[in-house]
Symmetry: C2
Subunit: 280 residues, 2 copies
């Protein structure tokens, strides 16, 4: 097994598959991003997603809403997109302004177009093991490991971090009968964290703390997935101390060029899936 799990290369394969699927479809899928923010980071994320969509032949559009506008304005925009027959996927870029209830905004997106997989109904389907849209990062992590030749069945996977967009949905996905891994979810209140991570076949770091996972926390031959994207002194740094951990790891994802591009590719897959479900 190659040591470095190359997210750029694997995601490029996934995107090629998506492009082929789009070509075979009767109608071009369309993804709409709702952006209610002036934050440059949010604008960058939306631009990246749209550019990726463009490259595989998915139509896309950004609907800008003034950050000072009311919650009602956001909700009625989402309603219109729900009813718009030409729109397959809707993503509400987070975070939203403080005066807007994020949960209400997410629940306003019809579950059939919720390509982020953030709507409670879609999370419930995931928990039941019959997902419609798996949240993009967990989906990308599993795909990436498989493409790298990692057999997840029966494996002891320790996830560090219990976020709503990574840790929790990833644990649920790993438990599904398609994957059959044995997940443990650790977090800030976990006692003896290193005892868990040292016994893991696979460690997934998703805590949002730069270089949190160090070499002494893992065993020789471990497989390490780094979901973190932290900006430190202008550089992107993961949640794993890459240099020291990679000396012990059998395989490891870099930052950047690891999980990040997989996340975007998964969003494109979900958009095509949404278009396909709506054709039925």
């Amino acid at each position: 097994m190659e040591k470095v799990i190359d997210g750029d290369e694997i995601s490029s394969r996934v995107r090629d598959e998506v492009a082929e699927e789009v070509e075979r479809m009767d109608r071009t899928p369309k993804l709409v991003a709702v952006l209610m923010s002036d934050d440059p980071a949010s604008e960058t994320y939306v631009r990246m997603k749209r550019q990726a969509a463009d490259e595989v032949g998915i139509d896309s559009e950004t609907v800008h809403i003034d950050p000072d506008a009311s919650e009602d304005e956001l909700l009625s925009t989402v309603e219109e997109l729900n009813d718009d027959e030409t729109v397959d996927g809707i993503l509400v870029q987070l975070p939203l302004p403080d005066h807007v209830d994020e949960e209400r905004a997410i629940e306003a997106v019809t579950p059939e177009k919720d390509v982020d997989g953030f709507h409670p109904f879609n999370k419930g389907l995931l928990l039941e093991g019959r997902p419609r849209f798996v949240p993009a990062t967990p989906k990308g992590v599993v795909r990436m490991l498989r493409e790298h030749g990692v057999d997840l069945e029966g494996q002891n996977v320790v996830i560090v971090g219990r976020s709503d967009i990574v840790g929790k949905p990833l644990a649920v996905l790993l438990l599904s009968r398609d994957v059959n891994a044995t997940p443990t979810v650790c977090h800030s209140r976990t006692e003896n964290l290193e005892e868990h991570t040292r016994k893991a076949d696979i460690v997934v770091a998703a805590v949002g703390v730069p270089e949190f996972v160090t070499a002494d926390m893992v065993s020789e031959g471990v497989i390490v997935v780094d979901v973190g994207i932290n900006r430190v002194d202008g550089e992107l740094v993961g949640d794993v101390a890459y240099d020291e951990v990679s000396e012990k790891a059998a395989a490891i994802t870099p930052v950047p060029g690891g999980v990040g591009p997989m996340t975007v590719a998964s969003l494109l897959e979900n958009t095509v899936e949404a278009a396909r479900l709506r054709q039925k």
Copy 2:
């Protein structure tokens, strides 16, 4: 700490609390069971739940549907109960006949009256850590441990079994910020199961295999929760080999008289909660 975790005693305390709450309410909550089965076990379960409701002052009713009736008949009955202002909680007793789509039936119950917590929307809220109705068995397990004086925070809890009604929702509940445990979910495909269970502070057995968890699988001082209810030669047997495991355990739930009565008490709590939410 007492060795035997007495579900009868603890659930009776919970039911007393529920009775007091019901007394304080302006309107008597009402629970309706929809029974589409001639199976004596299903009839018994419904009777037990209604009797428990009666004892705490919750009104209840059983709507019988002929097992040979159509799925549409079931769905329209559920619709009527959704619209009935006097009904707070609806439970569709499972299993349903083969010609009825169970998922469709569960999704037909409005999430506001889904006191079983089985609707995907409610499961999604649970996964997000803002549950409305926690499924009765996981809710009962956590309550029971707490009432027995077990501090779950940071503890290594190994769940054996990944069912939709116990293993998966319990893992999610344990992860919530109210509980802060560190859950691992094991199942039939887990490699080296005993390595997980031997390291656990708490083992929850929910596999449906009589006496599956044996003394050699656990450590001295472990806390054991037995969710299994198996009928063997006319007797009720749990998923834990009680006699041998109890010699090593610091605390253990018996079968019967353990998790079972807690499950019923949790359903009553959910029904009162449903009535309270509808009053708002």
